[in-house]
Subunit: 97 residues, 2 copies
C-alpha cells in the first residue's frame, strides 16, 4: 500500500529527479494545502468561508515566512472520482540570505 503512494507528492510538486531541468522553479518554494472529502465540500465550506480561510492561512504563513502576498495563493476546487478536492498552492517569495 505504501509503495503505491510513493512519489505521488513529488509528482504533484513536479520535483521528480527527471524533472529537475525546470530551472524556472528553482527559486520558488511552494507550500501546498489540500482539503479532500468524500462528499461535497460545499456542505461544509462556502465560497465565502474558503476566501476567509485563505486569508487566515496566509496570515499564518506570513508569521513564519515574510512577504507572502494574497496573489501568491491560488486555489482550485475539483472533483475526482467520488472525492471533492480543494487544493491551495502558496508560492513563497525568494529566500534572501
Amino acid at each position: 500500500m505504501m509503495t503505491k503512494k510513493k512519489g505521488f507528492w513529488s509528482s504533484l510538486f513536479g520535483t521528480d529527479d527527471n524533472n529537475s531541468g525546470g530551472s524556472a522553479n528553482l527559486a520558488t518554494e511552494r507550500l501546498k494545502v489540500i482539503v479532500a472529502s468524500e462528499n461535497r465540500l460545499n456542505n461544509r465550506l462556502t465560497v465565502d468561508r474558503i476566501e476567509k480561510m485563505k486569508r487566515e492561512i496566509l496570515e499564518v504563513v506570513n508569521k513564519y515566512v515574510n512577504g507572502v502576498q494574497i496573489d501568491d495563493v491560488n486555489i482550485n476546487h475539483r472533483s475526482e472520482d467520488s472525492l471533492d478536492v480543494l487544493e491551495m498552492n502558496i508560492n513563497l517569495p525568494e529566500h534572501k540570505k
Copy 2:
C-alpha cells in the same frame, strides 16, 4: 499527467468500488487535510517551525470546515522523497441538514 493522479484520493480514502463492503463507515464522513512542503524550506525555517506552521494551518482549516471537533482529528507526519507532509484525518459527525 491528470490520469496519473486519477484514483489516488480514492485509494487514500479506501473508497474504491471493490472496497465498498465496509459498511461500518457509511455513517461517517471523512475529511483529509494535507499540508506539504519541499524540504528546501529547511533553509529558511527550522524543522520545528515548519511543523508549528503546519499545525497552525490545520487549525485554521478546522475552524472553517463546519462540524469538526478536535477529538475527531488525528495527525501524522511523514517524509516522502524530498517532501515533508503533515496529514490530518478527520472523522466528521453525520452532516445534519
